[in-house]
Symmetry: C2
């Protein structure tokens, strides 16, 4: 403990050091060591999947059952679980082996590509951001220990980009903004409504569904441009 | 037959009349009677299908067999036939009820969405304009009277727009140019490589495959912009 003047001085030094460290870490994270400016962008296709709440987990897999790790996903803490369910659509058509992604959430939700929705007999499912499920269609979910009738929660996930605040600053975008993603190659598509989702734990990463991935030839694409 | 001067005069009158008629018909066709300028644009999804040559028709459906009309397609003279075949992919997976579109062509060709290609076990199929099949994958086609091993001809059809010369003039585009198609709505996609195919018998019409249609939510889309 020193005098008030010393404390002020220490605070000044600390702030400079902290700013240097933050800057260095941010630049390294963004891959700017050699003067390049663009954060590394990855684009991934999300296959159809389910998010599950505690209550539905109890019914479908037994009281107190937990999700078990199959493989980690790109966003830290998220994972594909070993657990799968069967979804029954409005015309009694089914898709088996619908994988559950962890961790558990407050609400159950099923994310399908439109092709999946057609296979299940839905006339349409709305394009929504994850979690925004009010008024969406439901479905029957069959697990090894029980059946849940979801009243709502079947959506086509809106294409979105995860990023942390430093990456958002780089692009000059804010939470809930929309960006454009141009995917080069033979098909050459631009997705005009890529929703921005900013979180300190996120890594720069676009999620699209399998219809979007198939339309733009994502498996072969090498050119990606994320634009404000 | 009159003098040379009379002939010239007649030719002049004829040209004026002809030009008037052409202009009037063109404007009516383009819906410009009330000063509106845009030709009416329709956008359609092409489901997977086959085009067939005479030789393969003979093998698959019997010597001299003809395609029979199921329903006419938007482009004059083209039709969905009642005839279907089964396609066997590289890993012995099959799709039944692959419909043949008429009329017959010089070369057999199968147009699949990428989703179809995956279902059949193809690792990839190239994006090509119809007819441009050199070096593309083949497949086994099974018909009611025989089997054909196509050496090549399985493609993902490049998104394209049919138009007649008047419509091409309206847009200021030439054969083989590329245009952009912006499809509004929740997904809001822009297709950057829409190939221009000009033919006097064509009607303005964009063809995309089912993956592209599902990605952009074509069944619900109301806003279409075709841009140079």
């Amino acid at each position: 403990m020193g005098s008030s003047a010393e404390n002020n001085s220490l605070r000044s030094i600390d702030r400079t050091v902290v700013e240097q460290i933050v800057r260095q870490v941010t630049l390294e994270y963004l891959g700017q060591k050699n003067g390049s400016v663009a954060p590394k962008l990855t684009v991934q296709a999300s296959s159809r999947h389910m998010h599950i709440c505690r209550e539905d987990m109890d019914i479908l897999f037994g009281p107190g059952a937990e999700l078990t790790l199959d493989r980690p996903l790109f966003q830290e803490g998220n994972f594909a679980s070993k657990e799968t369910v069967t979804i029954v659509g409005p015309r009694s058509r089914i898709i088996s082996n619908l994988r559950i992604l962890g961790p558990m959430r407050k609400q159950s939700q099923v994310e399908l590509a439109f092709t999946d929705a057609i296979m299940l007999g839905f006339n349409d499912i709305p394009v929504r951001l994850s979690g925004d499920i009010a008024g969406t269609p439901g479905a029957v979910i069959v697990g090894p220990k029980g059946v849940v009738e979801m009243r709502q929660g079947v959506i086509r996930a809106a294409i979105h980009v995860h990023m942390n605040p430093a990456e958002a600053a780089h692009f000059g975008v804010a939470q809930n903004d929309r960006m454009k993603l141009r995917v080069g190659g033979a098909a050459c598509l631009t997705f005009n409504h890529v929703h921005v989702r900013i979180d300190p734990t996120s890594r720069l990463n676009v999620h699209m569904d399998t219809d979007e991935a198939n339309a733009c030839g994502l498996h072969l694409a090498k050119e990606f441009e994320l634009l404000k």
